[in-house]
Symmetry: C2
Subunit: 463 residues, 2 copies
Amino acid sequence: MTERLVVIGGDAGGMTAASQARRRRGPDELEIVVFERGGDTSYSACGIPYWIGEVVDTRAELVVRTPEEFRERQDIDARIHHEVVAIDTAARTVRVRDLGSGGEDDHGYDQLLIATGASPQRPDLPGIDGPAVFGVQTLDDGQAIIDHLAGLELDRAPRAVVVGAGYIGLEIAEAFVTRGIEVHVVERSPRPMSTIDPDMGDRIAAAMAGMGIELHVSTAVSAIEHDEAGRVRAVVTDAGELVADVVVLGTGTRPNSDLARDAGIPTGATGGIVVDVRQRTPVDGVWAAGDCAEVHHLVTRRPAAIALGTIANKTGRVAGINLGGGYETFPGVLGTAITKLCGVEIGRTGLGEDDARAAGYEPVCVVVESTTTAGYWPTAEPIAVKLIAERHTGRLLGGQIVGEAGSAKRIDVLATALWNHMHVDDLLHVDLSYAPPFSPVWDPVLIAARKSWDAVEADRVDG
Amino acid sequence: MTERLVVIGGDAGGMTAASQARRRRGPDELEIVVFERGGDTSYSACGIPYWIGEVVDTRAELVVRTPEEFRERQDIDARIHHEVVAIDTAARTVRVRDLGSGGEDDHGYDQLLIATGASPQRPDLPGIDGPAVFGVQTLDDGQAIIDHLAGLELDRAPRAVVVGAGYIGLEIAEAFVTRGIEVHVVERSPRPMSTIDPDMGDRIAAAMAGMGIELHVSTAVSAIEHDEAGRVRAVVTDAGELVADVVVLGTGTRPNSDLARDAGIPTGATGGIVVDVRQRTPVDGVWAAGDCAEVHHLVTRRPAAIALGTIANKTGRVAGINLGGGYETFPGVLGTAITKLCGVEIGRTGLGEDDARAAGYEPVCVVVESTTTAGYWPTAEPIAVKLIAERHTGRLLGGQIVGEAGSAKRIDVLATALWNHMHVDDLLHVDLSYAPPFSPVWDPVLIAARKSWDAVEADRVDG
């Protein structure tokens, strides 16, 4: 008998799972229906800032596979502009609204995968729901920003205010700068990128200043003002008013788990849906993957909610293999992330200094400065590497890298080291590659490991 | 009482050891004398091709620290142009020839570190010792090549023949191309870079052709001919004669261990000096580090002789810590290496397919093609990743990467994975970084791990 898999959400988590399930079970065994409330399936949300910044030319380039392709190539019935508005786990049905017609229908399922993603946090502020206050989550969001910019009729350079200096906030700020827009970034905390430690974050603030981005730290937004015609006019902060022709929210995201919660499917303190190692929720026949689901953080050993395409793809793959009758488990995440701000590259993995303390560790930290290549190589650029190691043991807890071209991808070595529970006194020996165009003879990561071990030993002697 | 440490060889291995020993024991405790037969201490041999290629402007840039600096800053008595010609391990003396005066003296030691490095293999061929047949080992070698090129008086473009298509051979070939010299590379085996598997090596041959380098594979050199004035004229091969105005040996190196062997200090089948985990030879008070010493290969679990600056620095550090009264052991190597040939980057770690079989493993191999960044990113470039995994278990045995800008440093993730005995079904989950300017959402290394695991599983079902 044919089983029916219903997938809610047609981006990375949902479509990866659908594809993996299809690889293992053909249409005779498994019918797969995907309901997506937006107009696209399987797109690169991470590419949106670069589309706005005109590095990527067209919307189509960000679409990995269209609904038609899923239907034709994989017999996956992907229905866009269809929103699931309720789940009945007892009856094993979902209520689906056709956003075109407005009509609603119930659809039965044998297995249900929730892959509803995450949405930008919208702080509860006057004016936040105005027409020129944008998130950056869907291709429609990106299109709306691009259309809005094209429609501006100004006798001066346009001005943008980005609320929040996280990864998305900085990427959008860079995009606006490349379009010749004056950019102000307002950040509540005392520094940009709260996932990067202050001693490294200062380098990012300096890079922003170098690009002409006005950064307002320790500044809270209190309202977004519009004029009588409904056009956005200014962002009001506790440090004054910033004129704005466009406002973008880079305030982080929250898992889209209300639908699940309303159906009695457990969610955790992170807001994400609770899943086991195979991506099963505690409710029979209901699975979750992608940004809406919790993940296990391998260093804190606690649940986390991290909205990242890599994790969505990986958890979607695990869910899909299991839904297809295979066996796979998801080990967890390290919180690895990377971005760039014009020439400055930023990478991080594991725990920062404060994160480590909050998780109960006592960290010993070092920052080293080196070069991306041999010092005499013409393209040698500065790179700073921070390692966070556990006191007494030297166990690696996290790493952060800020530097110029060729710096940040080195974070993957630290991620692989963390994955393997390495201690810095072992890491410093690892046979990493060297040639003058690629690194100093001691790669900066190894220099950092050496200094980190020195610091752990010195601390042990002292305390 | 002051002890006396004598170090033979003033490059990476010897000077790193001397510096580390000095950090732990001051001049009152430990006198350190270094005898170096060349004219430089602590220089970057790996940078010589780029000096010849005019990427690096001056010889001085390749010198990390001069003898004067060692003397003044660290109280290390580094004597250049002094060659140790014999060791008497019973009397604990070395016989030293002053290459300036020609005089010889005996010097006593309490501890002796042999760090004599490696030398280019000179096949026993007629004409091989001619004046325009160069190695690329010391700064003097580099200077000799540069001076020779400057002195050529030709009514046509100069022609170079490079014997051997290993790392050094290719780097020198690239250097000559950038100087507008016509380059022929003669390689005995059927493909360039014997440490890279054939399916990957073909990409390198294609890159060489694209640069205008004439590659003659499966070709043996039988003689090097000189004219009556002693000028090099041609390289004679079994496939004909190649006109040459300069000849460079890129035929690999052999450990400089004759001095040790003559003194009764054991050497292994690799030709390298036998050492324990702390870099001690079996002879009391005698240590060895750098290219002249054997290293433990972590995947074959056998001794190896690998001439690389990274390993020389690391083994020198271990020897120096121990000589300074500390405790450190050297875990071993993976055979990681990296280079580039104009735009093409090449990295490798662990075992190739044939290496793996020779070591007794049954390998399952995959090659995947991907892009260095998100496919839609303007600088996306092709990258090929080959993984060699153990049959049945999926244990990673080696990896190779050939691709364009941004490819090869990813080999470090594979090196770190190998170091930790990872299996590909674990590797595919690792939380590596992703953003569109840096990688596809599945990093090519992870794609390779996924395909590798698929291949291991398929093989297990079949056999």
